[in-house]
């Protein structure tokens, strides 16, 4: 067989196919090359569901490596929902990381399935010596602690100082009554009746548990609870009562009667940063967003108002911990790194770098507060602020998500406007749904 001479004008089809096939095989083969590793090296696989923590983890790992030669972390960050999906596949099959951060609602599932080991006596003691009982309790399951606290989501009220001044309001409001009064003075409606600036940005639309979470920002100050635990460790709804009705009525009034917020105007952190709302209830990360998107904005942060002058301030606190996998082959190194990660200077660093708070005791916040005083409410909340948190039960996310499916519709339901009986009916139906989910989960009880 003789081969045809090549024309030199280009690549013929056969050659092109060979090249393509060769490239494919080379790619497939090349991908499979193992990377050489030194036997003495310690590389920890760290997974995070907070991509904004990546620079923080890297900075702390670099610092740790200065005293631990050969130490490295292989960091994997994905958005939270994907992170949870990845962990759900990897943890039971032993293909997970050495270290990961995740919400307590997920970690208790892993603990229940023996995929997480309870903290050793040493780590347990370390936690109890450096964090509040509140945080310790939050991260405990069946009387045992798991993981080390990493950060905390704490909600407070952002207020735009310039808008308050312009409206002649001495802010910030300390009660919901004052808040409504201020919002009415600040809200802007154009000649066509269209809202161009909201007095306050409530969470009125969207999907997911966040809507219910924001409803609780009002429900708790009003004296209610989304779910309540009984003495026997069972749960039932805590809002089919006056507090629940008041909270829903406030939302309905804000949208329909008082018209200080509207689902059609921009909402959330972006709205506050670009000056289309005067007030917002949110966590500390918004400070970083404002610095990035609107660095000249003059704003303050205060506790979310009390229901009235006699009621307490309430603040939602959501601790977030970092864990060592029960199947890690580098358990000792992982815990040692986590202890380093949670040292006071690194705890401050997480707030400085990411805006997320941290309640590690013994942290000197002075340098941070000198630079960004707005962090004060989050890192050193006033003594009269009472905290509340998410109950650590597996179905809590479902409870919030299912309620969140209905709440936005209720906020704009015109039949609820000025109709307390309808509001009571809506709350009763919503509460019945909550109890029904608790019953299905086998944890419903009233005594």
């Amino acid at each position: 067989m003789t081969s045809k001479p090549r024309s030199g004008k280009g690549v013929d089809r056969r050659t092109a196919l060979k090249l393509a096939a060769g490239a494919g095989l080379a790619s497939a083969g090349g991908f499979g090359f193992a990377r050489p590793a030194k036997a003495a090296d310690v590389t920890l696989n760290v997974w995070t569901g907070y991509p904004e923590l990546v620079p923080y983890y890297k900075a702390v790992a670099d610092e740790y490596a200065k005293t631990h030669a050969g130490f490295k972390i292989n960091l994997l960050s994905t958005s939270l929902r994907e992170h949870e999906q990845k962990l759900s596949a990897a943890m039971p099959t032993g293909t997970g990381p050495d270290i990961f951060d995740v919400g307590a609602n997920i970690s208790i599932k892993f603990a229940g399935a023996n995929l997480l080991k309870p903290n050793s006596a040493e780590i347990d003691q370390y936690m109890k010596a450096n964090w509040s009982k509140y945080t310790i309790d939050f991260l405990s399951f069946k009387g045992k602690t798991y993981g080390i606290p990493l950060l905390e989501g704490r909600a407070a009220m952002y207020w735009n100082k310039a808008m308050f001044k312009e409206a002649g309001v001495n802010g910030p409001p300390t009660t919901f009554g004052e808040l409504i009064e201020a919002a009415q003075k600040i809200v802007k409606i154009d000649s066509t009746g269209k809202m161009t600036r909201s007095g306050i940005s409530m969470r009125l639309s969207g999907q997911g548990s966040g809507i219910t979470e924001k409803f609780r920002f009002v429900l708790e100050p009003a004296g209610g609870k989304f779910i309540e635990e009984t003495k026997s460790g069972k749960w039932h709804n805590g809002y089919d009562n006056e507090a629940g009705r008041n909270a829903l009525q406030l939302y309905v009034d804000i949208v329909q009667k008082l018209k200080v917020d509207d689902p059609k105007v921009p909402h959330d952190a972006d709205a506050f940063a670009n000056g289309t709302t005067a007030m917002l209830f949110r966590e500390a990360w918004v400070i970083g967003e404002i610095q990035k998107k609107s660095p000249t904005l003059d704003f303050g942060v205060a506790p979310i108002p009390r229901w009235d002058a006699k009621s307490p301030y309430k603040m939602l606190v959501q601790p977030w911990a970092v864990y060592v996998s029960g199947k890690s082959k580098n358990e000792a190194a992982s815990w040692d790194f986590l202890k380093f990660l949670s040292q006071p200077n690194n705890a401050r660093l997480i707030t400085e770098m990411t805006g997320w708070g941290c309640n590690r005791q013994g942290v000197d916040w002075t340098p941070l507060l000198k630079k960004t005083p707005q962090f004060e409410v989050f890192v050193q909340p006033p003594k009269d602020v009472q905290t509340f948190s998410d109950p650590v039960i597996a179905v809590f996310d479902e409870l919030e998500s299912r309620a969140a499916d209905k709440l936005p519709g209720l906020y704009v339901d015109s039949s609820l406007n000025g109709n307390p009986a309808k509001v009571a009916e809506a709350i009763k139906a919503l509460a019945a749904q909550t109890d029904s989910i608790l019953k299905t989960a086998g944890i419903y009880g009233t005594s």
């Binding site: 497939a28 994997l76 939270l80 609107s294």
Partner: protein, 289 residues
């Protein structure tokens, strides 16, 4: 290709009702086109906006201070060139494999009789109606057994075969290639392998192109499976890489959009270059991509 005017009979002038309906049709299509294009324009526009302009209200399509920072920034924040090359590698391997396996299986099912042919073909087709999510766990366990978790071969494995490709090629080979042609080759002493390469393959080029394009698009946009299998960010494709700009409650929209533009660009260029072939492929396969 047959032109419409070649079809038959004299050309009739459209009635006024016909013209009206035609006009309405064009308006609906134009509005639809605007809705389709607007998000792409928005993506490109946002990719050139500084953070202070991204969330302005009312929004502005044209950035007042356009910047390249988002494009340079994404390469500072993550190895985007690696993600891009990974996407190219995974997609090419998937495309080549799907074309080869679909051709082989399609030719066998289309032109060869053997016991259980129909049953086997039905089994393959049945896999097309099972959603990926339904067998992702057994597949993942299989990948663990193969020790392919966190490897490129583990990432590309589910994209190497396409039951729809087998179906399409089988239909094409059985209906568009005369059996007499293969018989003539055999009479002349050609081997079955020679017939496959020199007769069936060239005559299946349109169907192969269709399936190749479909396989490439599918592999390029893969997200969930690579997410589960890749534990090392160096193995990420573009779709996964973009997540690093999605924070807990916010996003770096400028960089996210810059990354999305880069991710979309190859597909856009491929479409512009191959648009005729793609449209033919869509018509052939009945797919919308």
């Amino acid at each position: 290709m047959v032109r419409p005017e070649d079809d038959s009979g004299p050309v009739t002038r459209p009635t006024s009702l016909g013209r009206l309906l035609n006009g309405i049709g064009h308006i609906i299509l134009a509005v639809g086109a605007i809705f389709m294009v607007l998000p792409i324009l928005w993506m490109v526009s946002t990719s050139f906006k500084p953070p202070t302009e991204v969330s302005l209200w009312p929004p502005e399509l044209i950035p007042s201070q356009p910047t390249w920072d988002n494009y340079t920034g994404i390469f500072d924040d993550a190895p985007f060139h690696v993600y891009f090359l990974n996407s190219v590698g995974y997609s090419l391997v998937a495309t080549i494999s799907v074309m080869v396996t679909s051709l082989l299986a399609g030719a066998i099912f289309g032109k060869y009789n053997f016991p259980g042919r129909v049953f086997l073909f039905m089994v393959i087709i049945a896999t097309a109606i099972v959603p990926f999510e339904a067998y992702i766990i057994p597949l993942y366990i299989q990948i663990i057994d193969l020790d392919w978790v966190n490897t490129p071969q583990g990432i590309v494995l589910p994209t190497l075969f396409l039951s729809f490709g087998v179906f399409l090629l089988r239909q094409h080979v059985s209906s568009a290639i005369p059996t007499e042609l293969l018989e003539a080759g055999r009479v002349d002493g050609a081997s079955e392998w020679w017939i496959l390469r020199r007769v069936i393959t060239p005559l299946s080029a349109p169907a192969l192109s269709a399936i190749g394009i479909f396989a490439f698009i599918q592999a390029w946009g893969a997200f969930f499976w690579p997410l589960i299998v890749a534990n090392d960010q160096d193995l990420f494709n573009m779709e996964l890489g973009l997540q690093i700009f999605q924070f807990r409650f916010s996003a770096d929209y400028g960089k996210l959009m810059a990354g999305s533009v880069i991710s979309t660009l190859p597909m856009l260029i491929a479409f512009l270059v191959l648009r005729r072939r793609i449209i033919e492929s869509v018509a052939l396969s009945g797919l919308k991509g």
